[in-house]
């Protein structure tokens, strides 16, 4: 029972990482696709403003997810990281390169240095979610076990499709958030720019999700059944409805529901996956109960989560509130001159 609660917490933390951190990866992808140094400057500037104050905090959810996994379900953690050594190593290196590239770019003094670091940031923003996705595909299809296949586990249609899906979804979330941010900042051109991209990425994500699901029919029949006919069906329906709502709201210029609905569309897919593979943490054999740590450990994990809810959630809310108000920006270096007016 307590193991199920911790598993649910793990899913929620992963969701937070996906809808918050995922968008930061997506921002890097749009940066990559923004074009030449001059032509893409406006979009890159917007991406920079939106990501800078929040990406580090968003990315801590990954750390929390890892810690909950290894503390609550140590055997599953060990099997995942042994079998999926290759994609997870690449993802780890991608994480370092992305964060450092972004930080260096912000302080860079020359265009060339900016371009090199910006490029590293952008390319690793694309690779990291792809490889994370292949790992998820391996878990869903039951390829992760004590001595799983180090290559076949993640080089297979489901894994590659899931990797692609992760990339598309990250791009989609980012484009939606950036469109909303541009709107709030009073930049209609950029709003339209990102709206177009949000629509394109949304359609690609939807299509990839459908193909991946169809693929699961052969590679993970029981998950497929749950998703299409069983207890995970409601989550799939919620996701589709939310996704369609975003696609209709954005072009009409109704911006306020776009951000939460886009997040919901993505969250529901994650929940659907979790519900569909319940009670297994690593299908087809290792159950949540079977992998669970002793009760006192689970209690400690829930205690930590409780503290996070009480202390960290309000801090996060403060951060987001300040960021949305435009109160958080790279300051003028020496404080000379009047402060730039907060963007509205």
């Amino acid at each position: 029972m307590i193991a199920d609660i911790v598993a649910a917490v793990l899913v929620l933390v992963a969701t937070a990482y996906a809808v918050l951190g995922g968008a930061d990866f997506g921002g890097g992808m749009w940066d990559l696709l923004a074009g030449s140094a001059t032509g893409g400057a406006a979009a890159r500037h917007r991406i920079n403003l939106s990501i800078t104050p929040v990406w580090e905090s968003n990315h801590v959810w990954l750390v929390i997810a890892l810690v909950v996994l290894w503390t609550g379900f140590p055997v599953a953690f060990a099997d995942i990281f042994t079998t999926l050594f290759v994609p997870l190593s690449v993802a780890g290196l991608g994480i370092v390169l992305r964060g450092s590239g972004f930080a260096y770019r912000a302080q860079a003094g020359s265009v060339r240095w900016q371009a090199v670091n910006g490029g590293i940031f952008a390319i690793s923003s694309l690779l990291t979610p792809f490889f994370m996705g292949t790992a998820v595909g391996a878990v869903v299809t039951g390829r992760v076990r004590a001595s799983g296949d180090p290559a076949g586990s993640w080089v297979n249609p489901t894994s590659l499709l899931t990797g692609g899906l992760f990339v598309a979804v990250a791009a989609y979330l980012a484009a939606v958030y950036l469109a909303v941010d541009s709107d709030r900042a009073g930049e209609p051109d950029l709003r339209r720019y990102f709206t177009r991209r949000a629509l394109a990425a949304g359609i690609v994500s939807g299509a990839l999700a459908a193909v991946t699901m169809a693929e699961l029919r052969t590679s993970a029949p029981s998950v497929f059944t749950e998703l299409t006919q069983g207890r995970a069906l409601p989550a799939v329906i919620v996701s589709v409805l939310a996704g369609v709502a975003v696609l209709t709201a954005l072009p009409t210029g109704v911006m306020w529901p776009a951000r939460p609905l886009a997040a919901l569309a993505v969250a529901a897919v994650i929940w659907g996956w979790a519900i569909a593979q319940y009670p297994y943490i690593l299908p087809p054999r290792l159950t949540i109960a079977g992998a669970a740590a002793p009760a006192a450990t689970m209690g400690a994990v829930l205690f930590v989560v409780g503290v996070i809810v009480v202390l960290v959630a309000p801090s996060f809310a403060l951060l987001y509130w300040l960021a949305q108000r435009g109160s958080l920006r790279e300051a003028d270096e020496d404080g000379a001159g009047p402060p730039r007016r907060p963007a509205r």
Partner: protein, 475 residues
């Protein structure tokens, strides 16, 4: 509650004895290099915010323009360092699974607890660091100042938590085992294990010494070059004083740690102090290279009975030697351990001397040391950052290499902890290459920032408006 798989049971398993994972050596090298890189930035994350906060306070309280400018620029430096620290730390937590699934699969439910607590502080630290760094000019000045307080506090508690995990590996307790499975866990006993009380303060003080020394370095160089503005003096004095104040406490705790290790991990102690046989009247070696069962003559000085004296305050104290365990259970490279330990102690002592030097001059003349001795003093000040980093890394070598061949002391061998995945040499190569590049790039970025700032740094009362290079606007 102190239970473990007994020492011999770990060895009795024939498969483990016959084929230690071939990945052990590259895995250790990868862990050591990623930690060794991360920890420097971690020190800046733990202690630099406090130094920035003090500087900011001086700036606000005394309306001191130089102090404000320093605080403002330091928060920029922090933006770079914290970002690289955060991502390199994330990779470390992935490394725990990539390199040590044998540790995490067996003891994840125990060692995970302090890491979980650390997670709280990572989140708080990240959130408030961002608010502080990007809140300049946009938040009310004092409110903005106070947003740094949670960062300072969570830096300390975060450090406590990671070190709790490490100290648990040195002195595992707080769990029971049956049939090779963990059956119960006592989170409080895990977090506050027998090595916690010295490791935690030792590491936190180390972080303050490292951050203070590194922050003071560029200004010491500036002063040496004759740029004696208030800006440079303040930029040197404040962080260096922080490091100097930490030093005597650090030495006291280090001394306590050494004594604790003599009883908790006697084989580690024996290796770092060259005690081959259990005996009384054990000499203390200053420097010295161990080879073929003895210290090579002429490489070190033995102080008769001093080691016994340090361990038990009497020359008759029995000190346990490494002969008490079979060779396979002794740490490798006693020379590395011993010299690392000596180096750490030497640097601690030098920092103490420098601190006293500064205190005396300040007390007598309200000034930095002047003249020729002043140059020596400042040269030492300019090297103090690097020296503290070296001392800290040496300390970790003592802790980590000294615990070998165990990952969890007397409970889990490193060969059992290591992964069976065969790709480690490749990821090791990638890790080393990337961290080498990141080290160079981080220094390059800091250097570029320094160069930009130097235009105005000379002035004590920096009023000249600063215009950023044109490209920065294009971004």
């Amino acid at each position: 509650m102190r239970t473990g798989l007994a020492l011999h049971s770990a060895l009795a398993s024939p498969s483990l004895r016959a084929s230690p994972s071939l990945q052990v050596v590259p895995a250790r090298a990868q862990m050591g290099s990623s930690l060794g890189f991360h920890i420097i930035l971690a020190c800046m994350g733990i202690a630099f915010p406090a130094i920035v906060m003090i500087m900011h306070y001086i700036g606000l309280r005394r309306r001191d323009a130089a102090a404000m400018l320093l605080a403002r620029r330091w928060s920029r430096v922090m933006a770079v360092l914290v970002a690289v620290g955060a991502v390199s730390g994330t990779v470390l937590s992935m490394d725990m699974g990539l390199l040590w699934p044998g540790l995490m699969g067996r003891y994840g439910s125990v060692i995970g607890i302090p890491f979980g607590i650390e997670g709280i502080f990572f989140l708080l630290e990240a959130v408030f660091t961002a608010i502080y760094m990007y809140g300049w000019d946009r938040l009310p000045p004092w409110a903005h100042f106070w947003t740094m307080a949670p960062v300072v506090i969570s830096g300390v508690f975060g450090a406590m938590s990671v070190v709790a995990a490490n100290s648990w590996m040195n002195d595992p307790s707080g769990y029971t085992v049956a049939n090779g499975k963990i059956t119960s866990v006592d989170p409080v006993a895990v977090y506050f294990n027998g090595a916690t009380y010295y490791e935690m303060p030792h590491m936190i003080l180390a972080a303050y010494m490292v951050a203070g020394g590194l922050a003071a370095t560029p200004y010491a160089v500036g002063l040496l070059r004759g740029r004696g503005s208030r800006y440079n003096r303040l930029g040197f004095l404040l962080p260096f004083t922080v490091a100097a104040i930490a030093t005597p406490f650090q030495i006291g705790i280090g001394d306590t740690a050494a004594r604790a290790i003599a009883s908790q991990q006697p084989v580690k102690f024996a290796s770092m102090e060259y005690v081959p046989r259990t005996s009384t009247h054990v000499p203390e070696w200053i420097a010295g290279v161990w080879s073929n069962g003895r210290v090579v003559p002429g490489t070190g000085i033995a102080l008769p009975s001093v080691d016994s004296l340090l361990v038990g305050f009497s020359p008759n104290t029995r000190v346990i030697g490494w002969d008490t365990v079979p060779p396979a259970l002794r740490p490798p490279f006693p020379t590395l351990l011993h010299l690392s330990f000596d180096l750490m102690v030497l640097i601690g002592m030098l920092m103490l001397v420098w601190g006293i030097w500064l205190a005396l001059w300040w007390w007598r003349r309200r000034d930095l040391p002047r003249g020729r001795p002043g140059t020596v003093f400042l040269a030492g000040g300019a090297l103090s950052g690097i020296a503290c980093v070296v001392a800290m890394e040496a300390g970790w070598v003592v802790t980590e290499v000294g615990r070998q061949p165990w990952t969890v002391y007397n409970v889990l061998l490193t060969s059992q902890a290591a992964t069976s995945a065969t790709g480690v040499p490749a990821t090791l190569a990638a890790t080393v290459a990337i961290y080498a590049v990141l080290t160079v790039a981080t220094l390059a970025v800091l250097w570029m920032m320094k160069r930009r700032w130097q235009a105005t740094a000379g002035g004590a009362d920096v009023a000249a408006p600063y215009s950023p290079p044109a490209e920065r606007e294009a971004r």
